[in-house]
Symmetry: C2
Subunit: 497 residues, 2 copies
Amino acid sequence: MRDGTDIQMPLWLTKRAALTPERTALASGGGNMTWEDLESQAKVTARRLAKLGIGEGDRVALLMQNGPDMAVVIHALPFLGAVFVPINSRLVPSEIRWQLADAGAKLLLYDLPHRETAETAAETEVLSWDRLASLKPAEGPLRSHLHLGELHTIMYTSGTTGRPKGVMLSYGNHWWSATSSVFNLGLDMNDRWLVCTPFFHMSGLSILMRSVLYGITAVIHPSFDPAAANRAIREDGVTIISVVSTMLAQMVEEQGGRGYPDHFRCMLLGGGPVPKPLLERCRDQGIPVFQTYGLTETASQIVTLAPEDSLRKLGSAGKPLFPSELRIMDGEEEASPGQPGEIVVRGPNVTLGYWKRSDVTREVLRDGWFRTGDIGCVDREGFLFVLDRRSDLIISGGENVYPAEVEAALLAHPVVVEAGVTGVADKRWGAVPVGFVRVKPGEVVTEKELVRFCGERLARYKIPRRIHFVRELPKNASNKLVRRRLPELLEEKEEKR
Amino acid sequence: MRDGTDIQMPLWLTKRAALTPERTALASGGGNMTWEDLESQAKVTARRLAKLGIGEGDRVALLMQNGPDMAVVIHALPFLGAVFVPINSRLVPSEIRWQLADAGAKLLLYDLPHRETAETAAETEVLSWDRLASLKPAEGPLRSHLHLGELHTIMYTSGTTGRPKGVMLSYGNHWWSATSSVFNLGLDMNDRWLVCTPFFHMSGLSILMRSVLYGITAVIHPSFDPAAANRAIREDGVTIISVVSTMLAQMVEEQGGRGYPDHFRCMLLGGGPVPKPLLERCRDQGIPVFQTYGLTETASQIVTLAPEDSLRKLGSAGKPLFPSELRIMDGEEEASPGQPGEIVVRGPNVTLGYWKRSDVTREVLRDGWFRTGDIGCVDREGFLFVLDRRSDLIISGGENVYPAEVEAALLAHPVVVEAGVTGVADKRWGAVPVGFVRVKPGEVVTEKELVRFCGERLARYKIPRRIHFVRELPKNASNKLVRRRLPELLEEKEEKR
C-alpha cells in the first residue's frame, strides 16, 4: 500500500508554465515575465550551467541582488537536480569563503554589484551572471520530475555555537510551507506578492516558491524602500507583502495614515518581536497585519495569527498552521498554559536537518519535533506568545546576529582573551550588538582597531556598535560565559560613558 | 534523511477546531454548527461507536441522507481509525448486501428514511442513528493523529467487469485532492460550498474534506432542488457549488437569465459530457462554470479548466491540476496531440487501489499511472477533451450506470440467455440504459416482468428504460458481446416501434 512515501511530481516551473503560461510570473523594474518566458529562461540557464559541469546534487551558491536574474537561476537549478546555496550579500569575503567550503559548493555565481566580494571570497569556481549568459547551452535532457524528499536548498544560519550551519530544506519542506500558508491566508488568482526581503532569506525565497505553486505574481523590488513598497500597494496592485517589524514601522510612517486600498489584504509580519504600539497603530489604521512566527528551519512561517483573532490577541503570533504542531517544553515536561518554556514544533515543513552536522541535528530534532531554542508560552486558547528569541539572539533590522559568532571574531584578535556580546535596544534597528572584551595583561588595543578587525570578518550588521573593555566577564561555575548577565555589565558601563 | 515518507499530522477536525473554533463548519436547514461543536459531537459519536466495539481498521458503512448527522459520523470515524464505507442510498437491498459483505463491514449505520432498506439488506450488524445517539459513550483515549498513507474511505464503483469494486482512498488522497483544488480555484475565508450531491459520491464527500482543511462552511441540502440551490446562491452567501450537467441545466432554467451575484465564483461542473449549447448559454449569462474531469479513483477532480481558458476552450475539461499528470495512450504508445486514446493519469490523489482486488489494481495502476478506461484527446496546448467515458459507461443524471452490471441482472432471469445494455440519449437525464435480450428457445417473458425482475436487483436509475427482444446480439470472433455495436441494433428496433 502506498503511504505518501516518496511522492514524485513534475518540476514545479514546468507544471506551472503548462497550466498558466501567459500569467505574469515576475514583475520588476525591468518589466514583466510570464511563466512561459520564465520556464524557457530557466531551462537555457540550466543548460548553460550543465555546460560548466553542474549536475545532480551539486551545490551552486548564489551571490546576487534580488531580481528576475536571481529568480531565473533559482528556478534553473531543479532542472539539473542541483542544490541552491543562497549567500547573504552582506557577508564579508571570509564569511562567504567559510560557507562555500562547508557546503562544498561547486560554483559561486554572482552579479555585477558583487564582483569584488565574490572574487575575493572564492576558492571555488566563480562566475558572473553575464559570463554565464554568454555560454553556449549544453544539449541533452533536463530533469522533468522531482521527489518531495530531495534537497532543494542549503541556507546558512548561525546559532549559539559560533559557526553558521547549513539548514537543509527539501522540495517537500517548501511545498508544505506553501500549503500551510494557503490554508491560512487563502488565495486569489489576482494576488501579487511583493518581495522586498532578500531571496537569500526564507522570507524572500518562500515567496518565490509560493508564487510558482499558486501561479501568482512575485513583484520584486531590488531592496526595501518604504515609499516604493507603499506605492506598489497603492498603484501596482500588490495584495500581500512580507515584512519585518522595522520595515512595517517605516512603511506606516511613510504612508502617514492614508490607509491602504481594499485589494491589499495581508501584511505578513515575521522576524521577531514587534513593539505593541506599532501593532496598535496598525489596528487603528485598519492595516491587515498577520503576525507570524517562523525560522529558516521551518521553511518560513509555522505559526500565524488568523484574521479573526488579530485584534483580540494583539501581540500573539497565533496558532500552528495546518498541519503543524506546537509544544512549550519546560525541560522534558510540557509546560502548562501561561508557563514559559522552549518553543518546540513539528510538521512536514520542518527541515531535514543541518548539512554535515548530524550531531547538532540529533540534538534539536527528535521524532520530528524541532527544538527552536526560542522562549514562549501558549495561553489557554492555544495562542503562542513569543517571549524571547533564543535567549542570546540579537535581531537587528530583521537580520539575525548570533553573539557566539561575533565573539569568535573578537577572540580572533591576538590580544583579546575573552569576549562577550549582547544586544542593546536601538530605535532604528530594533537591536544592535555590543561587545565586551578582556585583553591580555599588558597589551593595549583601541575600540576602533577592534571594530576594523571585526569588519574584515563579519557583515556590517554584526559588528559591535560599541566595545567595552572589562577586567572580567560574568561566568558560571564551569567557567563558561553567562551571556544573560552581560546586560548588567552594560548598564554599568554605559552609565559611565 | 526524511523524504516525505509516512507523513503524520493531527486529526483534521481536531486541528481545524483548534485553529478556528468559532467559524461555521456546517450550515443546513437545521441551523449552523461551529467547528468546535462539530468536533465535540464527532468525538461523542466516536465514543459511542467504540462502545459497539468499533476500532482500528474496522469498516463502518453508512446509509444516510446528506445532512449534519452524516457529516458528524464521517468525521467521527478517524477518531477510531475506522474506515468509512459510504452506501449509495439508491441501491436495492441485494446490492447493498453484496457491498457490505465485500467490505467486511462491521456495522451498517442508517437513519430513519433508510430503515427498511437497511434492515432488509444487512447480514452484518445494523444500527439506527437514533439508537446510536442513545448509547452511553465509552471512556478511554481517542486517536489524535493520522498518517497520510492510512485508509480513510472505501467507495464502491462498478466497472466493465460487472461487480462493483471498492475504491480505497487514503487520507493522503483526500488531502492532495483538496490541495490541487485550492491551487487552482483559490480560497477565500468567506467561501461557502453548497453540497447538493450525495456524501456517498466523491463530489459530495470531497466538499466535506475540503471544508475541514480550508476552514470554510459546507452548506448542506438534503437533496438537489434547483430553486433551493439558486436561492442558496442568491440569499445564503454560497460562493461555490459542485454540479453535474443535468443539475446545471435545471439551475440555469430555474434562474431564468437573472444572473448570479458577484460573490458566486464557481460552478464546479463534473460527472461526464456536457452539451455545448448549455456551456454557451452559461457563458452568455456570465455564469462562472469550471469544467472538470475526475473519478472516484482520483478522489474528485484531477483535470480542470482554468478561468482564463474557459471561453477559449469551451468544452474542454482543462489541464491536469498541480501536481498531477496526464497521458493519452494509444495502446502502449503515447498518442500525439489531437489523436484519441485512453486517458491515463498520475498524481498523489490517485487511489491506493481496489479493496481485495489486487488483480484489477495491478491491471489499471502501474508505476502510479492509472488507466481510466475513458477516451479523450489532448490538443497542442495540452487541454484535455473527454470524448467518451469508458466506452460502455452510461451517465444518467450524474450517476454511473455500468452495462455489465445491468446485463448481469438480466442474465440472472431463468429464461434470458444473452443480454446487452447500452445508453440512449435522454433529454432529462442525459442518458438512460436500454437492454437487449435473447431468451431460451420456446420460452416467453414480457418486458414488464424483466423490468420488475431488475427492480429487485438494481437501483432504479440502472433499470433499462426499454428492453428489446432480439434473435442475436453483436459478437466478436471469440464470441464476446461487442457493446459498441448495440446502438446500431437500437436504431433498427426503435424505428420499428
